[in-house]
């Protein structure tokens, strides 16, 4: 599985011009944003120093008894939304810039990973033609929501994904960042940040089983599911299991399968230490004929350029990303999902 680095370089150079325009807007908006923010901070500092009880003053002087007070009240209320607007503009253009890179580079990376055993394809969020084809593709896109791993009050902020086949096993990889529906800022309540893999199960299954790392409290509404106790004490210590059918769950979660999940956790720990991430939290759900594996790393996993402002591309990042994609093959092999 070799990625054609020269092809990546040439595509990056060819598309550099398109991004440059966006980049200039980002830089310009950033300047405005910093300028307004600095003025705003200075303005507030002066006002606070001038009127010791400034915040009470701007409320009580709303009738405009003091012209200075009225002007400061209006300025205080107006400058903030302007700064917020610039911040929003920066994030919109940044998103578009990153999407441009992803769209151009991911396909080449996917192509480089494909061979006789693997077929992998990148689906960007704006690929409307692709989604028009069938409802099934829409279902793939919605996999993270259908996994049962995420509470409904959280929304997904990234929508691109990879789909593919490895040794005749269909899979999808979603880079997910779930946060509260109401939130818009950087400090919003993020519930999950990491990849969610959906893989075809090699067994017929009619039940719903949720497996959560023991360290985290289960925030998902478990409905009619009951907590079940399995024979493997070590597995029980590491995970909490909920199911609506004890026999079906045990049919999938055989003793050897539980052993493999524990081994998978060790692989993920090694992987997360490479990325300087926290200890990963492994969540799994087995739903009908699919197994969903969510790895909460608290970091974005899909290729996102670090040095945006220089419009350069670090090939080491591509190597790192390749390793991340190959994790799916390790998961399939480790859990023996390619064997019927």
């Amino acid at each position: 599985m070799n990625i054609d680095k020269s092809k990546l370089d040439s595509i990056f150079s060819e598309t550099k011009k398109d991004r440059q325009e966006k980049l200039e807007i980002i830089i310009k908006n950033k300047k405005y944003f910093y300028f307004i923010t600095i003025i705003y901070i200075v303005f507030i500092l002066v006002l606070v120093l001038y009127f010791k009880d400034f915040f009470i003053y701007i409320i009580t002087d709303s009738l405009g008894k003091d012209p200075f007070g009225t002007i400061s009240s209006i300025a205080f209320v107006l400058i903030f939304p302007i700064a917020a607007l610039y911040r929003k503009l920066i994030s919109v253009h940044k998103k578009s810039y990153v999407e441009n890179i992803k769209k151009n580079m991911m396909s080449i990376i996917a192509e480089g990973l494909s061979n006789n055993e693997v077929n992998i394809r990148y689906i960007p969020p704006d690929d409307k033609e692709y989604y028009k084809k069938s409802n099934k593709e829409q279902v793939l896109k919605d996999d993270p929501f259908n996994s049962g791993l995420i509470p409904s009050k959280y929304s997904l902020t990234t929508e691109d994904f990879f789909k593919g086949i490895y040794k005749n096993v269909n899979f999808c990889i979603h880079d997910c960042r779930f946060k509260l529906l109401s939130g818009d800022g950087p400090f919003d309540d993020v519930y999950f940040n990491g990849p969610i893999f959906s893989i075809d199960l090699n067994k017929k299954n009619n039940s719903k089983t949720l497996i959560f790392s023991s360290e985290v409290s289960c925030k998902v509404g478990i409905g009619d599911l009951k907590e079940i106790k399995l024979e493997d004490i070590d597995f029980e210590k590491k995970f909490k299991i909920y199911s609506n059918n004890e026999i079906e769950s045990r049919y999938v979660l055989t003793t050897s399968f539980m052993e493999k999940i524990k081994q998978l956790l060790d692989i993920l720990k090694k992987y997360s230490s490479k990325r300087d991430s926290i200890t990963p939290e492994l969540h799994m759900s087995i739903l009908n004929d699919k197994i969903y594996i969510g790895i909460d790393l608290l970091i974005n996993t899909f290729l996102e350029p670090k040095d945006i402002e220089n419009n350069t591309f670090d090939i080491k990042e591509v190597e790192r990303f390749k390793e991340e994609l190959c994790l799916i093959f390790e998961i399939i092999e480790e859990l023996n999902l390619h064997k019927k």
Partner: protein, 192 residues
């Protein structure tokens, strides 16, 4: 009067304590019953599969007549019994274990009939059979887990007192009854 009230409070406290141990015990007992009926359902599923397999096998496997007849006979006996009936439970498990061994023998014998072995219907039947076997194994694990929980409650103080008052006894875990099942299958034995 005061003594009467104190006695009444004591009885009420004891009653609440008894009830708080009684409810989980009954829940566990019912869970064991539920798991047992789970095994019953899976065994019936397997039993229902057998005529289909035998129907196909009897057309080609002329040398295995006695084996096919044995399976038919055991299946008929198994169908008349239920694992949920306490007196029959042991016998049902014995018979099912015997049935399982015979069916495995039949599948190994399939190797001698390439035409049948490659038949899509028999391949499908074999796959379904393997699935049902795995379900039976899962149902047994569920049963063992439920029995283990119940036995712990029956043996560990203080719920053991309530259990003994209710006359509840430790239940047997599901073991591999047939020593043949425990043995590793020697392929060479079948290739003689």
């Amino acid at each position: 009067m005061e003594i009467f009230i104190i006695l009444l409070v004591l009885v009420a406290i004891l009653g609440i304590i008894f009830y708080s141990f009684y409810v989980p015990l009954i829940k566990l007992k019912n869970k064991v019953q539920e798991s047992l009926s789970g095994i019953d359902v899976q065994l019936k599923k397997r039993s229902d599969l057998i005529p289909n397999i035998l129907g196909l096998a009897s057309k080609f496997m002329t040398h295995e007549r006695s084996l096919i007849e044995d399976i038919t006979k055991i299946r008929t006996e198994v169908q008349k019994m239920s694992i949920l009936n306490k007196e029959e439970a042991g016998k049902v498990l014995d018979k099912n274990s015997e049935l399982s061994t015979k069916l495995n023998q039949l599948f190994v014998s399939l190797e001698n009939y390439p035409q049948l072995k490659s038949d899509s219907t028999i391949i499908q039947a074999q796959q379904t059979y393997a699935e049902v076997e795995e379900h039976i194994s899962a149902a047994r694990r569920f049963y063992n887990s439920a029995v283990n929980e119940l036995n712990n409650s029956i043996e560990i103080f203080p719920s053991s007192i309530v259990a003994s008052l209710l006359g509840m006894k430790k239940m047997e875990l599901f073991k591999i009854l047939d020593e043949k099942e425990r043995e590793v299958i020697k392929v060479s034995d079948y290739l003689k």
